[in-house]
């Protein structure tokens, strides 16, 4: 059977065929009568902690406070009530379990959020991160008692350097944007070290918002790089703009249109010739890991989102981890603590105290770290997970990861391009994500309506309205951890939604119907911000 004609309804259950817009109850979001509780069987409403908890209740067993005991608090005792309600353990577990069920996660279903690489999070990673030798060690313990932790950092650094073909790696950045900042600050430090005051950073319009925000923070003026009709950096226009004022070019490769920048090496060569540096946003490294080494393309600095390519969990918005691999030219400027491979092939962890000696021994005294970005060593809990993942896949498995991620994305691209605007499909294959636009939608339906309707079909929507270069952008990133059956079912559902959108099905404007909440009023939230709970005022 052709994938595109396969039913999206694999269980064989036949939905009632009444169009949503003609059914009053359906339009209100439910099929049956209203319930007294507002619950709908497994869909359970949950009050706020502040509405169910009490400040004199606790779920831990601790000794009663002896207020008569002498203290050394210097008369600063906290006298006023704090207003922190507590729950016993059974109430706590139920409160959060109920809340969890109002969330969509990878564990629950397909999550094709473009640019975010929502791949399966292996549970071995979680088990390893919780081993007492990793989870229960203090960052300032005497070094002789944490050799295993340094070995993890060194081993992970070795993998990152080898997979990217780079020279050094700064391990401490806390997330992708923090890594970007690290890379740009290395570039600025390197330029300043040679007395070169450049003012401009070039960023493509399709870049993540963090790129221009980072460059602006580092004190640079941001200018856009034009793109070709094929969705790639316009090499000739870039060359024409390069000059003695350009400090760096920030390029995402594969880019946010899901395309590999074919001219990457030529771009790097041109930037280097003009005396600048090349920053690569590594958010999309999953597409090329084990297939291409960014170091071979002339990249000077690239952050790696361990929470994307290397499977550490996204956790509802963090924590991430963003080590930055550096070229030989930038390595001496990385932040402390810092990891570098020396000529003998050994990877070293360098902190403030050892920096001078290390610099004299291995960098001819030129090591000029730009400083410290965070209190301790970085996201150790993510390092153990990422290393566990790398060891599981190995060099061969990681290569297969990239191949399957790209294969899955192209499968979606070619299964959709006949009914959905796919501006770059004609120019060749995509990488790990497929980009579509809403050009052919009927009525006044938009990408947002399709995304919200996708929620009703049981999927997390793709990334929408990003990149900014395409009207109504829909960026679909399946990742390699999805089966063909999952993709086939998704494609069938996606096609049915596109057909409804192209036909101008007005019911889509009210979606989602079946989620724990209907569309939320974001305007009201911003106009009268209510950012903390307060006791309701008496009428």
């Amino acid at each position: 059977m052709n994938a595109t004609t396969k039913t999206p309804n694999a269980s064989g259950w036949k939905p009632e065929m009444t169009p949503a817009s003609e059914d009053g109850l359906h339009a209100k979001g439910y099929w049956g009568p209203a319930t007294a509780t507002g619950n709908r069987a497994l869909m359970l409403e949950e009050p706020l902690l502040f509405e169910i908890g009490r400040t004199n209740v606790t779920g831990v067993d601790l000794p009663e406070v002896n207020t008569d005991a002498p203290n050394r608090l210097g008369g600063l005792e906290r006298a006023e009530p704090i207003g922190l309600p507590g729950l016993t353990e059974p109430e706590t577990v139920r409160h959060y379990t109920r809340l969890s069920r109002q969330n969509y996660g990878i564990d629950l279903g397909f999550f094709p959020l473009g640019s975010c690489t929502m791949k399966h999070n292996p549970r071995l990673n979680e088990k390893v991160a919780r081993m007492p030798g990793f989870a229960d060690v203090h960052p300032l313990q005497p070094r002789e008692t944490v050799q295993g932790a340094f070995e993890v950092i060194n081993e992970l650094a070795h993998w990152l350097i080898t997979l990217t073909g780079m020279h050094g790696v700064a391990m401490s950045p806390k997330a992708g944007a923090h890594g970007e900042l690290c890379g740009i600050l290395c570039i600025r430090a390197a330029l300043e070290a040679r007395g070169d005051a450049r003012e401009v950073v070039l960023v493509p319009e399709s870049a993540h918002g963090t790129n221009p925000a980072t460059a602006a923070f580092a004190g640079y003026r941001v200018e856009n790089i034009p793109a070709t009709d094929e969705g790639r950096v316009d090499l000739e226009a870039l060359k024409a703009r390069l000059g003695p004022d350009v400090a760096a070019v920030m390029i995402t490769n594969p880019n946010t249109c899901g395309l590999f920048e074919r001219d990457m090496k030529k771009i790097s060569d041109a930037v280097h010739e003009a005396g600048g540096f090349v920053y690569c946003d590594g958010a999309n490294f999953n597409a090329i890991v084990g297939k291409v080494r960014p170091g071979d393309l002339g990249v000077d600095a690239m952050h790696i989102n361990l929470h994307k390519t290397f499977s550490t969990p996204h956790g509802g918005g963090g924590p991430g981890s963003g080590p930055v691999v550096l070229s030989e030219a930038l390595s001496p400027f990385g932040p402390l603590p810092y990891t570098a491979r020396t000529a003998d092939g050994v990877v070293h962890l360098v902190e403030e105290e050892s920096a001078d000696a290390f610099s004299k021994e291995h960098f001819g005294g030129v090591m000029q770290s730009f400083g410290r970005m965070t209190a301790f060593h970085g996201q150790m809990g993510m390092f153990t997970r990422a290393l566990t993942y790398m060891l599981s896949h190995g060099a061969d498995g990681l290569r297969q990861v990239a191949e399957d991620a790209v294969l899955n994305a192209n499968y979606i691209l070619r299964s959709m391009e006949d009914i959905l605007h796919a501006p770059y499909a004609a120019s060749g294959p995509c990488m790990h994500e497929a980009l579509f636009g809403d050009r052919d939608f009927g009525g006044d339906l938009s990408t947002l309506d399709l995304a919200k309707s996708m929620i009703d079909e049981g999927y997390h929507p793709m990334t929408v309205y990003f990149p900014l270069v395409l009207h109504g952008a829909m960026l679909v990133e399946p990742t390699e951890t999805e089966s063909k059956a999952t993709l086939d079912q998704f494609i069938a559902a996606f096609r049915s939604l596109v057909e409804r959108a192209n036909a101008g099905d007005e019911a889509m404007k009210q979606a989602p119907y079946y989620a724990p909440r209907r569309r939320l009023d974001e305007t009201q939230a911003a106009r009268k911000p209510k950012l903390a709970w307060a006791e309701p005022e008496d009428d």
Binding site: L48, T58, G59, V60, P63, R72, G75, L76, E77, R78, G86, L99, R101, N103, Y104, G105, M131, P132, G133, F134, A135, L140, Q141, P142, V146, T162, K174, A175, A177, A213, V222, F260, K265, G290, H314, G316, G318, P319, T374, G378, S392, H393, D396, Q400, D404, L407, N410, R414, A451, E480, E482, P516, R517, R518, L520, E522, P529, K530, L531, A532
Partner: protein, 453 residues
């Protein structure tokens, strides 16, 4: 390969659908000379779950876990007992494997949790509004400095000498790239913080004064006079807290007039984890400053049926909307750590938090009294919560290593925090929490006596 569901048959069918002969046809845009012809050399091939676990366990065994020794380290990271249900809840896949709640209709779990978390943090800090978390305390500290400069339109920053030196380093590093001028100092070895000296450094160019409470030496002092002095000059008071449990016993920074309160939330729910991931807390006392805040904010609203719900809001401050004009380049926060904090705080409640704080303080007093009896040792602090500075009469770095050789993790030497500052070299920071037993205190006292004699 256990994480890859595609079979070779699937791959063949899919390539046929795509119209590609081989997988390499999908990589045609990569210049041929840059394409690798096989697995990268120098790295091992794939391995079974059992083999990987064995390897990682071996590495973990090379570390001395805090639970396996009398343990007294603090200095910005504190070891507390985390109830079992915290870790169970954060491992629920719906929390663990969710993304940033950009589709609020299917992310109410994360969003409601963040709303609760923001409220808990604001109340703990004595503030009006807290954000949905930042990377860690040190980066939150820098964000507070940057925010103060935006609000006051000034760029002279006064750092207390008793601010955690790593935090001060982060601020100084970031300020190299802005117009901010940072005036730092090292702590003076004295029993109470030098508020008068700090106040004398504030002038009408000052954007903010940054003070740690309890400070790096464990001392606590009423900050009201510093707040008044700062406000009199039109400057803001930024208070940094690295031990949130303390605020179950002592006045909140907001009560004493702090304008921005930031801190490290790791002590509740998150654990030590060799330094990360941790949890940056960030709150403001005056709600009018909300639009200058960095990071994500969760707000209450209603859905199309009028039901209460939560969304990320005021995102016009943020990089994905404002790009180069954003208040910060931050994207990711510490969502899962915020959940751990939220759950742990819910289990404690106000009653449990106060009990926990009292127990920490009781044991800390007991430890200080016992350790002061060791010949050659004195306690520097007049006041403290659960951490204090011991003066040991010799280089404390050496003392720490000798204690470790005796199986005691005895604290953090000031020499480790301030390498090269001789007058601090004899200081040893000792932290005591509810996890410290009387036997642990006795073990440290005895080991210290042997090491110093």
């Amino acid at each position: 390969m256990r994480y890859l569901p595609l079979t070779d048959a699937d791959r063949g069918e899919m390539l046929a659908k795509i119209g590609a002969g081989t997988i390499d046809d999908l990589f045609v845009d990569v210049p041929e000379e840059a394409r690798l012809d096989g697995p990268i050399r120098g790295l091992p091939m794939h391995a079974s779950e059992m083999a990987v676990e064995k390897h990682m366990r071996k590495l973990s065994k090379k570390n001395l876990a805090a639970a396996d020794a009398p343990f007294f380290l603090g200095a910005g990271a504190y070891r507390h007992h985390v109830p079992s249900s915290v870790d169970q809840i954060i491992q629920r896949g719906e929390f663990l494997t969710a993304y940033t709640p950009y589709q609020p209709e299917i992310a109410q779990g994360t969003l409601q949790m963040l709303f609760e978390f923001q409220t808990q943090v604001a109340r703990l800090y004595g503030c009006a509004v807290a954000n949905a978390s930042l990377y860690d305390g040190s980066t939150a500290c820098w964000e507070a400095v940057a925010m103060a400069s935006r609000i006051t339109r000034r760029d002279h920053v006064v750092l207390s000498g008793a601010l955690h030196p790593h935090y001060a380093e982060v601020v100084k590093t970031m300020a190299k790239f802005t117009s901010d001028e940072i005036a730092g100092a090292e702590p003076a070895i004295q029993s109470t913080p030098d508020n008068a000296g700090l106040i004398s450094r504030i002038d009408d160019q000052t954007s903010c004064v940054v003070v740690q409470y309890p400070d790096i030496l464990g001392r606590i002092t009423d900050l009201s006079e510093v707040a008044e002095a700062a406000h009199a000059k039109g400057a803001l008071l930024v208070v940094v807290n690295t031990e949130p449990v303390a605020l179950g016993a002592i006045k909140s920074p907001g009560e004493m007039g702090a304008d921005i309160v930031v801190g490290e939330g790791q002590a509740l729910g998150v654990g030590l984890q060799f330094g990360g991931p941790y949890l940056g807390l960030f709150a403001v006392r005056d709600p009018k400053h909300v639009r200058q805040m960095p990071g994500r904010l969760c707000g209450e609203t209603v859905d199309a049926e009028g039901k209460r719900g939560f969304v990320l809001t005021l995102s016009t401050r943020e990089q994905h909307i404002r790009r180069e004009k954003a208040t910060s380049n931050i994207c990711t926060n510490s969502g899962l750590c915020a959940l751990a904090f939220n759950v742990h705080m819910t289990l404690l409640g106000e009653k449990g938090l106060r009990q926990l704080a009292a127990e920490n303080h009781r044991l800390a007093c007991q430890a200080a009294d016992r350790l002061a009896k060791v010949p050659g040792v004195s306690v520097l602090n007049d006041n403290y919560f659960n951490e204090f500075t011991l003066m040991v009469g010799q280089d404390a770095r050496e003392v720490v290593h000798k204690l470790a050789a005796k199986g005691v993790l005895g604290g953090v030497s000031l020499g480790r925090l301030y390498p090269g500052v001789d007058r601090l070299s004899e200081g040893l920071l000792v932290a005591v929490t509810e996890t410290t037993s009387e036997e642990d205190i006795e073990a440290l006292a005895n080991a210290l006596e042997e090491v110093l004699s």
